[in-house]
């Protein structure tokens, strides 16, 4: 048994201590404030009728009978709100000619994916609302579904949207020669001694936060308060106002306890708009909570890309170029940052390596499927997967050890800051140190020996070893960079600090946590900086009325952007307090030291005044410096100077049963470098959860549509999240290379585990089967796919190769 003493020893710092969380108590006792737990007087419950067809014209909707059902208060269709609902916002027009066909919350004339909202019932109870849905009659005139990305781009393909001329939304290109950040990819191809080309497939995934999305809207006169299970209350406020034409100052958005997000709650949802429309139309509070089936069929998915990637190199293993073409499945509509998701990865394909030339292009494609948008990592897992997989393929082609190839080409620790071929400047890193530590952590050499032994003895259960040496860009983001990418917002964050008369402290942050532990971590930062006890600090967030400014939580930005805003605000408080302290101590400000929450005169330790004493003195304001405003309270907005670049080395071992295709993850070890650790326990928690999601992409999860565009994986029966029994305990460790771009030296950690782990697993599975001639297995590497890959390999004695099992969206999955 382990007991954790989370209190820092006397005289030590809060930063770096594994403090247990402030957030836990109400959650472990069943007093969470999740939106669906809320009930307001007179509140109606909503249920939404969704399209059973992937693509169809709506020819008629009859709601008359539904209106007569018990408890029903109102039934509405798209026609009822056609003039008021506007279009759901997309904040990222990635190219000047990007096509946005519009995105009504309730379909008016046409449905474009199975799950598109068609009608909404308001009733006195959730059960009565659900009952009445069954009485709504909708006639559809079916249109051909648009599912295959390449077919969708072909001439004469059926159009998803009748108001467009093509299913292509945009083409985005980056070329290092044109950008001046590197050489020409054409020349790299021409001069290459070795060229390896692969097609990798990023299956669609469901973020699968455990709390289904839920929204409650209370109209108050012309104003509305919206409680929503969202990661982005501030953005929701602004966007809801713009979408519905409600003056922004009349909208209050609140994110209470939110049960996970993982990117799945960074959008303005049709359901938020519909709930607002109904609440305002009825003049009553209205609540909508989705079922899990609705999460699967209507909440956005992540990933969904075809990756065509070419690496060029010299025979000695020196890499010379990287060429990537993405075909990105955007789904039926553009949600908040749908078109930009692949581009969040565009700058990360070169990873930690010194590619002299890089070319990248991306076609965004409309299909009749659920829109895609952010899912943990958002573009960067895809990039990391592709580069880490192709490095292994190159190593195999050159007959080099995969780690040796990486060592030969990565950025040396003495080369930082390093500007990559994609134009990013990585501030710090030490890939050698992380890799050496990881090799030690997992016992890499022993695993290689065990692998050799099993290969030698033709053991039916082979061992595969996987590598992923990754970095990512997070801490979103420097506003100027976002501007250069045509993103519709800045990337700053806001914080304010309020000193209360009793010496307690309120810190208001514009980030919006949903499980990360920011209240604990931020309290540790403030405690150290301000010298106020951890327990005397309250972190306030998630309500635009009390936290009026912010850009919320995503892209591993909360600490490296939001945390720094807090530091800046605290520093302003200290500066004001210094003036008061000098006045009270009758000393010169320059002669004061601030240590442990008290100001004292240098060389005169007897005279000191503590921060709570100063707070009280300012509160009563009886004796302040002349002309001083009676307040210590301070606010700061911080715009990061750069992205954050955490990195790490992830190594794993899988057993592959060559007779059944079963893959078992037997060992997973990772050494992450997230800069200065604020709370190691919280970091490990983020890494564990991130790993589970990345591993799940490699082995378990996949959104599947059938040939008619019906979602086959519509529940947790078919969409297989890993359980405790599917995962091992992970070995985690850290190296610490502080960031030089922020005063805490911190880097983001929220997405690292997910970004790094997927290629490590697939590399391991392929490594186990390379002697069988297997070069790739499409994700997730299910027993069936692995078994088929073995059967279709050169070693197969049982029949012809089945190309479909390798690198294709898989023609077999409809049979499952």
């Amino acid at each position: 048994m382990t007991t954790i003493d989370d209190r820092p020893a006397e005289g030590t710092h809060e930063i770096g201590a594994s403090r247990t969380r402030k957030e836990d108590r109400h959650l472990i006792t069943g007093h969470g404030t999740f939106v669906d737990n809320m009930v307001l007087p007179g509140m109606v419950h909503l249920a939404i009728l969704r399209s059973p067809m992937a693509h169809a014209k709506i020819t008629s909707i009859d709601v008359d009978e539904a209106k007569t059902y018990p408890g029903v208060v109102g039934v509405f269709t798209g026609a009822d709100f056609a003039d008021t609902q506007g279009d759901l916002p997309c904040a990222w027009p990635v190219t000047p000619d990007m096509v946005n066909p519009g995105a009504p919350s309730l379909a008016v004339e046409q449905v474009n994916f199975a799950g598109d909202a068609v009608a909404v019932v308001a009733a006195r109870s959730a059960a009565e609302a659900a009952d009445a849905l069954e009485a709504i009659e909708v006639e559809y005139d079916q249109l051909p579904p648009v599912l295959d990305l390449e077919a969708a781009l072909a001439d004469g393909a059926p159009l998803v949207h009748p108001n467009t001329t093509s299913n292509k939304c945009y083409t985005w290109v980056f070329d290092s020669a044109e950008a001046g950040s590197g050489g020409s990819m054409d020349e790299a191809r021409r001069d290459a001694e070795v060229t390896v080309t692969r097609r990798f497939l990023q299956q669609r995934l469901s973020p699968s936060f455990m709390e289904p999305r839920s929204t409650l809207v209370q109209p108050v006169g012309e104003a509305v308060t919206i409680w929503s299970a969202t990661q982005i209350p501030h953005i929701l406020r602004t966007m809801l106002a713009l979408t519905l034409g409600i003056p922004e100052h009349k909208v209050r958005a609140v994110a209470p306890d939110v049960g996970g997000g993982f990117g799945g709650k960074i959008t303005i949802t049709p359901e938020e708009v519909i709930t607002t429309l109904v609440a305002r139309r009825l003049g009553k509070p209205a609540k909508y909570t989705e079922t899990r089936s609705e999460t699967m069929e209507a909440a956005h998915h992540g990933r969904g890309q075809i990756q065509d990637i070419t690496i060029t190199a010299k025979r000695d293993g020196t890499i010379t170029g990287l060429d990537v073409h993405l075909t990105a499945d955007l789904g039926a509509y553009l949600r908040l940052i749908t078109p930009g998701i692949p581009l969040l990865g565009a700058f990360m394909y070169p990873g930690i390596y010194k590619f002299p030339a890089y070319h990248m292009s991306c076609d965004g494609v409309f299909t009749t499927k659920v829109p895609t948008d952010a899912y943990r990592g958002a573009g960067r897992p895809e990039a990391t997967f592709a580069v880490e997989r192709i490095m292994d393929e190159l190593a195999a082609e050159l007959d080099m050890d995969p780690l040796e190839l990486r060592r030969k080409n990565w950025i040396g620790h003495e080369e930082f800051p390093f500007t990559t071929v994609a134009g990013l400047t990585y501030d710090t890193g030490n890939y050698e140190a992380a890799t050496d530590k990881a090799v030690e952590l997992v016992g890499w050499d022993e695993l290689r020996q065990e692998q050799a032994r099993r290969r030698e003895s033709k053991d039916p259960v082979q061992l595969g070893l996987g590598v992923s040496t990754f970095t990512e860009m997070c801490g979103i983001a420097p506003s100027r960079v976002l501007g250069s990418l045509s993103f519709g917002s800045g990337g700053w964050e806001n914080a304010s600090v309020r000193m209360l008369p009793t010496g307690k402290v309120e810190v208001v942050t514009g980030i919006s946590p949903h499980g990360q532990g920011h209240e604990t971590g931020f309290s540790q930062i403030v405690a150290d900086r301000l010298g106020i006890p951890f327990d005397d600090i309250e972190i306030i967030h998630g309500d635009t009325q009390v936290s009026p400014k912010g850009l919320d939580t995503y892209g591993s930005r909360s600490l490296s952007v939001g945390g720094i805003a807090v530091v800046k605000a605290v520093d302003k408080v200290i500066a004001k307090a210094r003036r008061v302290a000098a006045h009270l101590l009758e000393a010169n400000e320059d002669d004061l030291e601030f240590e442990g929450g008290s100001f004292s005169v240098k060389g005169a330790p007897g005279s000191s005044v503590s921060m709570p004493e100063i707070a009280f003195a300012v509160f009563v304001a009886h004796n302040l410096p002349d002309g001083m405003e009676p307040s210590l309270d301070s606010e700061a907005a911080y715009d990061p100077v750069n992205f954050s670049f955490p990195h790490g080395t992830h190594l794993c071992a899988v057993e592959v049963d060559t007779e059944t295709g079963q893959v078992k993850l037997v060992k997973y070890g990772c050494v992450d470098d997230v800069g200065t650790p604020i709370n190691p326990m919280l970091i490990d928690g983020q890494v564990h959860g991130g790993l589970a999601q990345g591993i799940a992409q490699a082995l378990f999860e996949e959104v599947v549509y059938d040939d008619a565009g019906n979602l086959v994986t519509g529940s947790f029966v078919d969409y297989t999240l890993p359980t405790a029994a599917d995962l091992p305990s992970f070995l985690t460790d850290r190296t610490v290379t502080p960031s030089t771009d922020n005063p805490l030296g911190v880097k983001g950690v929220g997405e690292a585990g997910t970004i790094a782990s997927t290629p490590a697993i697939v590399n391991a599975v392929v490594d186990a089967l390379r002697p069988f001639g297997v070069q790739d297995i499409a994700m997730p590497c299910t027993p069936e796919r692995v078994w088929r890959a073995i059967q279709s390999s050169g070693e197969n004695t049982q029949g012809a190769a089945d190309e479909s099992t390798q690198a294709h969206f898989d023609t077999t999955e409809g049979d499952a």
Binding site: D24, G32, A126, D257, G260, H688, T723
Partner: protein, 155 residues
């Protein structure tokens, strides 16, 4: 409507319910026991796990009428006089929750696991919690919490 009488977290309730009402909906909507969560429609996630006469059940898989005459314990009934149940304490000590949505069900399932097997191996814990999904923690710290609670000799 059917009249049922159920003891929930030590309090006796008598109510008229529709025969189709699920126990989880009765707990949440009628009794305001919103500590018990709903995370799926298919009894996969286990967020709604409660104890029925001391044994864990997924309350989305039990009709309220089936609880008539029985005792239900939810996560809200675990702490006594402000003192956390050892499993709640273990979840806190080991950072076994992040968003906290699966946590009530996970705690109830973990207590039941130890009631059946007071000294489980790691594998037995992982298998024993297979019916409860968590998306945040990767389960590692949940396993540690169960190990801590088992080591404390109380469950």
């Amino acid at each position: 409507m059917t009249r049922i009488s159920v003891q929930v977290d030590g309090v006796q309730y008598t109510d008229e319910v529709e025969p189709r009402t699920l126990l989880v909906h009765y707990l949440r909507e009628r009794l305001g026991k919103t500590g018990t969560m709903v995370g799926c429609d298919t009894s996969n996630c286990g967020a709604c796990t409660v104890h029925l006469d001391g044994k864990s059940v997924k309350s989305c898989n039990v009709l309220a009428v089936q609880a008539d005459g029985h005792e239900v314990t939810t996560v809200e009934g675990l702490a006594q006089d402000g003192e956390l149940h050892p499993m709640q304490q273990a979840f806190h000590d080991n950072h076994s929750l992040q968003c906290g949505y699966c946590t009530p069900g996970m705690i109830m399932a973990s207590i039941d696991l130890l009631n059946d097997n007071p000294h489980p191996s790691e594998d037995e814990i992982r298998t024993g919690l297979e019916g409860n999904l968590c998306r945040c923690t990767g389960y590692q710290n949940i396993v540690k919490a169960v190990q801590q609670a088992a080591g404390s000799g109380q469950s």
